[in-house]
Amino acid sequence: MITQTVDWFDERLGLAKFTRKSLNKIFPDHWSFMLGEIAMYSFIVLLFTGVFLTLFFVPSSKEIIYHGAYKPLDGHKVSEAYASTLNLSFSVRAGLVMRQMHHWAANIFIAAIVVHVCRIFFTGAFRKPREINWVIGTLLLILAIVNGFLGYSLPDDLISGTGIRIAFSILLSVPVVGSYLAFFLFGGNFPGNSIIPRFYALHILIIPALIAGLLGAHLAIMWHQKHTQFKGKGKSERNVVGVAMWPAYALQAGGFFFLTAAVIAILGGLVQINPIWLYGQYIPYKVSYAVQPDWYMGWLDGALRLMPSWEITGFGHMIPTIFFPAILLPGLTFTALALWPFIEKKITKDTAEHNLLDNPRDVPWRTSVGVGVLAFYVVLFFASSTDVLANSFQLSLNFVLWGFRILLFVVPPIAAYVAYRVASETGSTAGTGRRKRANVIFRTAEGAYYTEQTAPRSPQHPEESAEELPEEVEYHSLHGNGDQELVTSAAQPGPSGPAGSPSHSGVDLGPRPSGGSGIFRIPRVRRSSTPEAGGDQIGGIGDRG
């Protein structure tokens, strides 16, 4: 019955060929390749928890009298948005844990994107042919930050309301068109009644759709171009060495999704985030001291704090101070970030395709630039908490502020220089990055000494040498009997196998009788080390056709 159904679809859609090819796809296995996955899994958690929140959140600035479960605000005039968020936190079953998971997932989502970008940058994974994916990734980062800010603003509490106020002022600061932009987005002057519904539409519909679309393109391009890999034995620009999609990679990735979701759920359940009931309804004349945005906006807030109050007048227009840190800085940042592959190409004149990754120490100048720029933003990020730092370390706020102004220009060059030295020194040292083996000193009966290097440290990870790709095998299953032959050959490994088919001993992952027709590859090769040692993973080599 199942076979018939599957065959019915296969005859019409040719699913078997695609599925077989996909299941056989090889993914290089390295922990740092999983950073982007963290972002994707956090995004999935965001979607699920976000859908739950939309069931109870009311995106409206309409004022009502609050008579809910939270007594300290009883009888207050609050917006429906704020009241419904209070209701989510106090009256809806599991509402607060969902809210907190959503917020933690957002923090982790963007943090994972940033770490992922760093990995891509420092290993040179953005080089040809992957420039498009780099640009898409930059867009995803921008959208994620924007959507984080919008979501943070929706509860209409005192802290986030202050953030919206700042955003309004930032828009106003754009020369010439600023007031039009701000009035266009806010539907009039601040605060107005339309900003919460508008942010809501953007936050739950438009930007998530854009993120999902771009994420799909990001993954599809990665799938098509195949993943990069680190240099190593048996790895070349032409092949992919790693584990197969099914079962090894799929199970690993699936497990990792649950691990990510578990950490988010634990944080959501055990650590309080954004207790809006303590903040109260946003009312423009009220303000709480020490208002920080969520961490991913921290560098912008830090830039706002550090910027001296310079105003430039020209052509009859005054450019307000906040234009420079709040519009110009992010504009330049994201433009430079998006264009980096092309900037680097201009510098290196390198037009070759690169599927093998650089080790950061192999390219000291790029590592140095990256570390220097990163240090600049890290200083800005910490400058966002000047007041908290001053209070915690009992320093004068002015001292901390001026300290950061100086550090902003002192730290990046030092960090870049240190990174350059470390990269070039370690890069020129033989055996860097390899596992060290112990030297054992022996004493002979005669009293002579000699040393011997021990075997590799872990028998679980033997030095691997991947085998060459087998020939492609014609595979006609539907009405022919090639399928049968292949299964037979797989079941009886030996020199008589067709096309030098590699051994499938251990796990039978060969083609199944229910498969379709077409050409497919059998890229699975056991690691060529001793069978016991390599038995825990099924891997192989794919090519980059």
Binding site: E37, P72, N107, A111, V115, F230, G242, F256, Q292, S392
Partner: protein, 294 residues
């Protein structure tokens, strides 16, 4: 030292982690404000007549207060018999800077006519005696017992009339929701909306409200210690002060749903937890299940 340790042990573990640094910081951060304190004190001592604006005319020392029966705030009657003891304590501990008659010296302001509430606030919060007069006074374990403090209050307020008396807040008559509204309007701009306190400009800071007693909070509102504005009866009624105090006491043990409250300082601590604990744990998990360099 041992007192301090015992006090610390009483606080819940997490609060201790947040507020001990803040409390220790108060001692040090107070140092910075004190640079401004002599001037502030001088300003007060120069205009004792302004205190009449409070509407508290007459003597406050011996309980000559205008207690409204059933009001949310009643004013404490000090015991005149304690004045000689208070004088002894004052001469031993305070007169070096403030002068034998609290008339002020070039080092410290005139205390005459400030009222019992001012003296009581500074002494009972441990801010006086001062460790370093060049920075903002910090809260530390009080040097004097409650009865000693009241004796000092009685002595200083016996020297000259004027100023508010020590308030007793009846929290059961205060309105919490009204307090939230007044607090967010009048107090949050410096003390932050959660009352955690924060650094202001030039070494001045708004101290945490987590250790204030109801009386101290009401005293601070009425007398405006250091850089804090003074909220007189024409600005906030006694009922409103009581409402604020009730909300301050609520903030010390608020409805903290959602798990561990990481300091009530907002996204700064949340960001660090999210990145280091959240993403860090997930990355360790990735390191665990992913491949590593051979």
């Amino acid at each position: 030292m041992s007192t301090k340790r015992r006090r610390a042990a009483k606080l819940p573990k997490l609060k201790r982690r947040v507020f001990l640094p803040a409390a220790v910081g108060l001692a040090a951060a107070g140092i910075s404000t004190l640079a401004l304190l002599p001037q502030a004190g001088a300003a007060q001592s120069n205009n004792p007549s302004n205190l009449g604006n409070f509407g508290y005319t007459g003597s406050y020392i011996y309980g000559g207060t205008q207690n409204k029966a059933g009001g949310a705030i009643s004013y404490k009657k000090l015991n005149p018999a304690s004045i000689p003891y208070g004088k002894t304590l004052f001469l031993e501990n305070c007169s070096t800077c403030h002068g034998a008659l609290a008339q002020g010296t070039p080092r410290a302001p005139n205390l005459q006519g400030l009222g019992a509430a001012t003296i009581d606030f500074w002494v009972s919060t441990g801010r006086m005696p001062l460790a370093d007069p060049t920075v903002q006074a910090v809260q530390k374990p009080p040097r004097f017992s409650r009865s000693q403090t009241l004796a000092i209050d009685a002595y200083v307020s016996s020297l000259a009339p004027g100023g508010p008396a020590i308030p007793n807040v009846n929290l059961s008559l205060a309105n919490l929701a009204q307090g939230e509204s007044l607090f967010s309007t009048n107090c949050a701009a410096c003390h932050t909306i959660t009352g955690a306190g924060d650094a202001l400009a030039s070494g001045v800071f708004a101290p945490t409200l987590m250790v204030a007693t109801a009386t101290q909070a009401a005293e601070a509102v009425r007398t405006g210690p250091g850089n804090m504005p003074r909220f007189g009866p024409n600005t906030l009624t006694d009922q409103q002060v009581a409402d604020i105090v009730k909300y301050v006491k609520y903030l010390q043990a608020p409805n903290d749903r959602g798990g561990i409250a990481i300091g009530h300082v907002g996204p700064v601590s949340e960001g660090f937890v999210g990145i280091i604990i959240g993403l860090g744990t997930i990355m360790l998990a990735g390191l665990w299940i992913g491949g590593r360099a051979k």
